[in-house]
Symmetry: C2
Subunit: 552 residues, 2 copies
């Protein structure tokens, strides 16, 4: 076995492995692929965002030759405002992705000093010992890329987030012939998107949604309101096309949808025939069957335009009986409840609602099993590493790779932080770097640790009871009767007697022990034990009990 020269390390992504960041290392040179964020999972109380742990990279800044970004979704660019100041490396991407990155950096006041470089498809850049070429892939955002990375020991193909779509609405189909050519020449390692490795068959083309939208725009008796992700620009394009065909004017509602649509119009990623796009001022007096809205809210976000409309809380648009609403998206895991509530409200307002369970109003942006097998077959890599998915997706993708003939020993299923050391003839998982998740809560990055989260969890379940014990500063003796205050534990009025009784109990415990402030550790434990037991007996609840000594 040759001395392994290449290291591949997935980082970040919560349970999705290598989703937010991948590190490639060859001798002294490092490149980073993507720098995204995740939204918190259940139980991460109060956390706003989760970003990759880059502690492994912090003493290696000088060796980082560049950050290569595959596409402009949050989970691939969203951590840049937090990490770029520390990584201090140039960022390479396609044009639209660069536009979205600069918007992100501007929002967080991290744009100045950033070096953002556009790389056209097919052009090669040199980053130390690595040469990188972007190739077009289809995904639910335009200008998405896969990567061909040449290293001294062989070629690496990174699929990015991708699907095959022979009839994409915007952009180019995934560059299959380029990949087939490469496969013929010999590819050392394929890293490929596993998000939908559970799904048999092929992911349908974006065009399928166009047919449904066309039908709805033609048949709907009243206004049509379509909601989708603002970054899904091809979907917005299809709404505009279908509306225009049926003489409906299109109103773009909501700040983020508006901002993205205008940016996409300017950069040429979105096209609208003259006179189709309308301003809210034009709405008054228009026949309802000549109106279409495009808006955000497909995830049931409480402050989104669609949810405000559904709750009769929007400044400009309310749902009217006879409206048709199209939710052109699937709920992101964890958002199902919010989306369902929104659909229920829309039905209650008298709208007809089309959503993913009842009509083909959405196709997703990742490859299904047959596409994954096709990619594996064309690229024909010596080694394979499934990425972008939870462990089960990676396991299933690994089995698909075996089924098309890649030997089991040449397939590496890693977890975040695992180091794959790869030589021209063999590879192995060799060690692990720090890869815990870093929580962003408000302004702070990383100060929320397990203690704070454990406290929030405990507080969320049964609330808190504070016991305030005054002690004479000179004598160390208890002064008066303790005070008890609770929040989130019981209804303080209904349970006044029980709380009073618990206060008596503490008073007796203190009295009995002839308590002295010097014994605070002992008193603290004793009070907590007594109250934990009493409250559990009385209520079967476990509030956080917090005795506190005030010296007076």
């Amino acid at each position: 076995m040759a001395k392994p020269g290449l290291k591949v390390i997935p980082l970040g992504g919560l349970s999705e492995i290598g989703k937010n960041m991948m590190v490639l290392e060859y001798e002294e040179d490092i490149i980073i692929i993507d720098a995204g964020l995740m939204f918190p999972e259940e139980g991460m109380f109060g956390v706003d965002l989760v970003i990759p742990d880059i502690s492994y990279l912090l003493d290696k800044q000088a060796r980082i030759k560049g950050i290569v970004v595959t596409h402009g979704h949050e989970d691939h660019i969203g951590a840049l405002p937090y990490l770029l100041p520390q990584l201090n490396a140039p960022v390479y991407s396609t044009k639209l992705t660069r536009g979205l990155i600069s918007v992100k950096l501007k929002e967080r006041k991290a744009l100045s000093g950033a070096s953002l470089k556009v790389v056209p498809f097919g052009e090669k850049i040199t980053l130390g010992k690595f040469r990188v070429e972007f190739f077009p892939v289809c995904h639910s955002i335009p200008d998405a890329a896969g990567l061909i990375i040449t290293t001294p020991i062989g070629t690496i193909v990174h699929s990015g987030d991708f699907k095959l779509d022979y009839t994409p609405v915007s952009g180019q189909p995934t560059a299959l012939s380029r990949l087939a050519l490469l496969g013929g020449q010999g590819v050392l390692l394929l890293l490929a998107d596993s998000t939908y490795a559970e799904l048999p068959g092929y992911t349908p083309s974006e065009k399928v949604v166009g047919e449904t939208l066309d039908h709805i725009m033609a048949e709907a008796p009243g206004r049509v309101i379509v909601t989708t992700f603002s970054s899904l620009i091809s979907r917005v394009q299809q709404v505009i096309d279908a509306a225009a065909k049926h003489q409906r004017r299109v109103f773009i509602v909501g700040r983020s949808m508006s901002d993205t649509a205008h940016m996409a119009l300017e950069l040429g990623y979105l096209k609208a025939p003259d006179g189709v796009l309308a301003r809210m001022d034009d709405l008054r007096g228009m026949p309802r069957n000549k109106v279409a809205f495009v808006t955000t809210g497909s995830q049931g976000e409480p402050t989104s335009a669609l949810v405000r409309m559904a709750n009769r809380d929007h400044r400009q648009v309310h749902i009217l009986r006879g409206d048709t609403v199209v939710i052109s998206a699937t709920p992101i895991p964890g958002n199902e409840g919010l989306v369902n509530k929104t659909v229920d409200s829309l039905f209650k307002q008298g709208a007809q609602v089309f959503y993913d369970k009842v009509a083909p109003v959405h196709v997703h942006g990742h490859a299904s099993q047959e596409e994954l097998k096709l990619l594996l077959t064309l690229v024909n890599p010596k080694f394979f590493m499934p990425i972008h998915g939870e462990y089960r997706h990676l396991s299933l993708h690994a089995k698909l790779a075996q089924s098309v003939g890649i030997p089991k020993d040449n397939i590496f299923v890693l977890e975040d932080g695992d180091i794959l050391e790869l030589g021209p003839q063999a590879g192995k998982i060799a060690g692990k770097v720090a890869s815990s998740n870093v929580y962003v809560d408000g302004l702070s990055v990383g100060d929320i640790g397990s203690v704070v989260l454990r406290d929030r969890k405990m507080l969320s379940k049964d609330g808190i009871v504070m016991v305030i014990i005054a002690v004479n500063r000179q004598t160390g003796k208890i002064v008066g009767r303790p005070d008890i205050i609770s929040r989130g534990f019981v209804d303080t009025r209904e349970s006044k007697d029980m709380l009073d009784e618990s206060c008596d109990l503490v008073a007796r415990v203190l009295d009995h022990g002839g308590a002295h402030s010097a014994d605070w550790g002992f008193i603290n434990t004793k009070v907590r034990d007594t109250l934990n037991k009493f409250y559990y007996q009385q209520t079967r609840r476990h509030p956080m009990v917090l005795p506190f000594m005030v010296k007076v």
Copy 2:
């Protein structure tokens, strides 16, 4: 229009309408259908269970002729231990349902005094002006029933939770001919299960799962571990049958699976050939391909046997490389994350895992659209009221009813608490009764109200900061410097300076105002405002700020 004599009121079920309880009223007589519970939704911090609000019934006990229970699932029987003492009425059900109800009541020490009556299918009982007959339906538990309720103004059919299954594994197929006969004679009102009104086509027969299990038991190289709901007795039967066929012995693991299986064996709802069921003592030394386990944990419950096995935390069984795990269930909404985590762990332990997304290992227990249309067509009711589903399911079910010819005006989509007043010729929604959800948290029923939940929510997001201000009891003057304690807000060590600074700020505010305990209301507000602003500036967080005065 004749004077309406019948009232129909759905109650409970969180967002699912009429799921946990329905009230039927005719003149002075009341019957109740089901008395179930729901598990808390997101945001119901620390709530254990949710039961229907029966305040409407509390002054009408004497008029309640009986509680009729359709089947033995938690969401139809689980509230009985809490409500039966207040409703004080006899409970009618089929045999297995009665068995499950008495287990529930015994657990909660509410069995004594309860009158539980078994009603065989086809027999009629008289409850005041109502006559009730149970008819068999297929559902994911044996002995499930629908109801034929005769009233002075006409016949009501209540579907219970049902699907059609011409080849059920246990029990009888849904009684279609009986319903067709009734339909010919004229049915006034149909109440029907809408849970899967979103799904086109037919729900597959339970037998489909049998074929998959048979295949897995035959092919698996090692042990087979099947997890499902303990009440899904027909599924357990199929595991036993498939295991027996392939000379595997079956080990039942986990208390609730064991208890239910033994009860079902005794009552004859479950059958095992001699020598198939084994005890844990028999396990040692058995060839792995002769072993099958049945266990709970299909929802990823952290304390379930399967999850303990997956985490190498079970006393008796650990997952071994080469084991095959079958998750024969779908995640209940809200449990997806836990189930996914469990599947990931199983894969990491080297198991092969079959779950609903990758193999036909589960069929659900509710009718899909074609079955719903068939029921509507056979029963051919004058009026229709969709029940058992969230509002969108009811709306879609209403549209299905229209599509088979029921006039729109004869279809009533209610929300919980709505009163449907029905006469022989017409009906209308007339008023609303109290129908909020009642929260069970520990021992208390109903004391958790919006204030406690709001506090828990706030605590869960950004924690709490207590400010303790000592005041001289005689002079009313502030004594010393305030104390600040926080939990769940920031890392108290890392943020010590910031917290100290906030304490100084409070001291200055109090000093500046020459604070006196008589102005406590003012001080309280001033301290809170000051700290809210300061903490938000420093951290962008909103902890609960709680000033407290200690008189010393």
